[in-house]
């Protein structure tokens, strides 16, 4: 059973609120203080991605979050209502692609890659920070599930 559920209008201003709530619940669930920054950033990235997707496709639909602590893990699921276009595949490729384009050192190429979507820094950050990530795209939308160790969550 989810311990906290949250839905918010797809507005950038609310992403910070979501970060604050998730960080507070993560702390209460026993997530190590050293990991809280990673939780905050990864969840913020997932929420930003969802907000941007909603603003393009369905601005009136809220973004949903479920926070759950059980079995020694703190799990966050961010759900949007926009059917994904191989978002899971892009997440897997983005970290490597970002490193590859960045290694070439050309801001022009990197800026172009960001604008055409071949490099998604947000997905690259999520892949790099969450202890465990599962991204699924369904006809209803995209779900990004992330989890971290939380000894107090039983």
């Amino acid at each position: 059973m989810a311990i906290v559920e949250l839905s918010f209008s797809a507005l950038p201003v609310h992403v910070r609120t979501a970060r604050l709530i998730v960080t507070a619940v993560a702390r209460r669930s026993g997530v190590d203080e050293a990991l809280l920054d990673e939780v905050r950033l990864a969840v913020g990235e997932a929420c930003s991605r969802a907000v941007e997707a909603h603003r393009r496709q369905c601005p009136d639909e809220p973004v949903r979050l479920e926070l759950e602590g059980s079995g020694g893990r703190f799990e966050v699921t961010v759900s949007d209502a926009v059917p994904g276009d191989d978002v899971a595949g892009r997440a897997g490729r983005s970290a490597a692609a970002a490193q590859e384009v960045a290694a070439a050192g050309s801001p022009e190429d990197l800026d172009f890659a960001l604008s055409d979507g071949s490099v998604d820094l947000g997905l690259a950050v999520i892949s790099g920070l969450a202890d465990d990530v599962d991204i699924s795209a369904t006809p209803k939308g995209v779900q990004i599930r992330m989890s971290w160790p939380a000894p107090a969550a039983r």
Binding site: V15, A95, D111
Partner: protein, 129 residues
């Protein structure tokens, strides 16, 4: 000195952006607060404004940045592209591990010159001249 302050409901300040230009022609932009999907446009506007005013050598001081996400990274990459078009530079001052980590994950440590202090950046700039 110019200042852009963004206020949110409740009156709290989440992003402050100030800038000044040294005698040496280096424009230092000090950023304080959280750079995210909501506040990043303010930083983007500041960078565009400075380039439009002919300031092509920028140093973004991130020592007081409490939070940075990929939207902020995108703004910095966009800024770098703009100044490079004028043979300029955009470098950073950052020693905070939690911010540096984001640059490392995305490979952007290879794209930006990152310095320990403003003085360090100025010194290297003089050395390169």
């Amino acid at each position: 000195m110019e200042s852009t302050v963004l206020y949110r409901a409740g009156g709290s300040v989440d992003l402050k952006v100030n800038d000044y230009t040294t005698d040496d022609g280096l424009t230092v932009i000090t950023v304080e607060g959280e750079i995210d999907v909501y506040t990043a446009p303010k930083l983007r506007e500041k960078l565009i404004d400075l380039v439009n005013k002919g300031k092509f050598h920028l140093l973004v001081d991130m020592e007081k940045v409490e939070f940075l996400d990929s939207t902020g990274l995108g703004v910095l990459v966009g800024g770098l592209k703009r100044v490079r078009a004028h043979d300029g530079s955009l470098e950073l001052v950052c020693t905070q591990e939690r911010i540096l980590k984001i640059f490392r994950i995305t490979g952007l440590t290879k794209v930006f010159g990152i310095h320990d202090s403003i003085a360090d950046a100025e010194e290297k700039r003089k050395g390169a001249k």
